[in-house]
Symmetry: C2
Subunit: 195 residues, 2 copies
DNA sequence: TAATTAGGACTGGGCGGTCAGTACTACTAT
DNA sequence: ATAGTAGTACTGACCGCCCAGTCCTAATTA
């Protein structure tokens, strides 16, 4: 059984609006307006705004794994350094396409929801863990292959890279320039290189 | 003439509520409830919720410079590495005191407001610049004294440290554990050390 | 014929913001 | 001395709007 057309439209519109305006700041009327789907149909597919929010997040995570992590960090047909570099390149391309910069969809949601809603928090927490795992594997393989320095544990480096990335994207959104992301990624790639 | 008692109460309560629940998600009634000041009195002191928000932010920035940056990063009576270390220590102490972790007051606000309100965005943008300046000076002096490695420009390192810090604090909020901040600061201190 | 979509009216509550008026103090003109 | 004036601090009642969610009917589609 496949997802009906309306349901997909709702989720797509909700994702875009939640990303740009936040979950709480997006009204169901906003979503019906953008998706062209009626309010009653929305409540036919979802029992509450929270349920829609969680499903939109789940779908975004699924999409991110398939379209970003899979082809880059986890793509073992390329050497680790190239994978990481390609990952950064895709991140930059994505954020360059958002004008004005809207920040990381996951980071934004984490800031907004983690203090008040445990369902969102837990989903985001395990997503960040999974993201970190992908980075860690890539780095570990890079150390083994001699491309990356081996004096820090892959886990610690992965943690650092993920936090740093989230922070850079926040700076891009705040300063409205890609510069922090561009120079930051160059620095990390250089720092990771084996001496 | 000093600020009236009520105005201070309003700003203090607003700061705490904005930090924990966000600007938009905090109602003026919430603020009157916590501060014990009436709604009409609030509108006597501030022309709008936005004006209150901006003043609360301005005050927080002032406080942060005086109570955090001044005694640590800018405190030239200590050597740079010790200053940075003390800075990290204070950040950790602050976030350890918030249960559950509420994230960075500035980072949270940036995520929430930078897409929709240029007054907030500009104030936060120049605040982050100023923060980066404080880090840069400290690092530059550390390089000159030979404590820190000199193969990256102080500006780039400062940028990296600030982004990384904001990201770590986001992780602390999401995962509800101080571990990312604790191990992340250790790693940065070690990375900066001159070889 | 069962799932899906459309349409619209409605509820109860929360929201930011407005307003006319009170109380108090201090300065000033007579 | 007194009456008037002005500025500050504060109050409670109120307004119109928007929100998530409900309810019901009816058409359409697979």
């Amino acid at each position: 059984m496949s997802i009906s057309g309306s349901k997909k439209k709702i989720i797509d519109s909700a994702q875009a609006l939640f990303h740009r305006h936040g979950f709480q700041q997006t009204s169901l009327d906003d979503i019906t307006r953008v998706s062209g789907v009626t309010r009653s149909n929305l409540y036919y597919h979802f029992n509450s705004k929270e349920e829609l929010g969680l499903e939109a997040l789940r779908e975004r995570i699924r999409h991110y794994e398939a379209e970003v992590l899979g082809p880059t960090l986890r793509n073992t047909s390329f050497p680790p350094a190239e994978r990481l570099s390609e990952f950064y390149r895709r991140v930059a391309t994505y954020h360059r396409s958002q004008v004005p910069p809207a920040g990381c969809p996951f980071g934004n949601l984490a800031v907004e929801m983690c203090g008040t809603n445990d369902n969102f928090r837990e989903m985001l927490s395990s997503f960040f863990d999974m993201w970190e795992d992908a980075l860690e594997s890539c780095i570990r393989q890079g150390i083994e292959s001699g491309e990356f320095r081996g004096d820090y544990s892959p886990r610690i480096m992965a943690q650092m890279i993920l936090s740093h990335l989230e922070g850079m994207v926040l700076m891009v959104k705040t300063h409205r320039t890609m510069e922090p992301l561009d120079s930051g990624t160059v620095m990390i790639m250089s720092l990771l290189k084996a001496t």
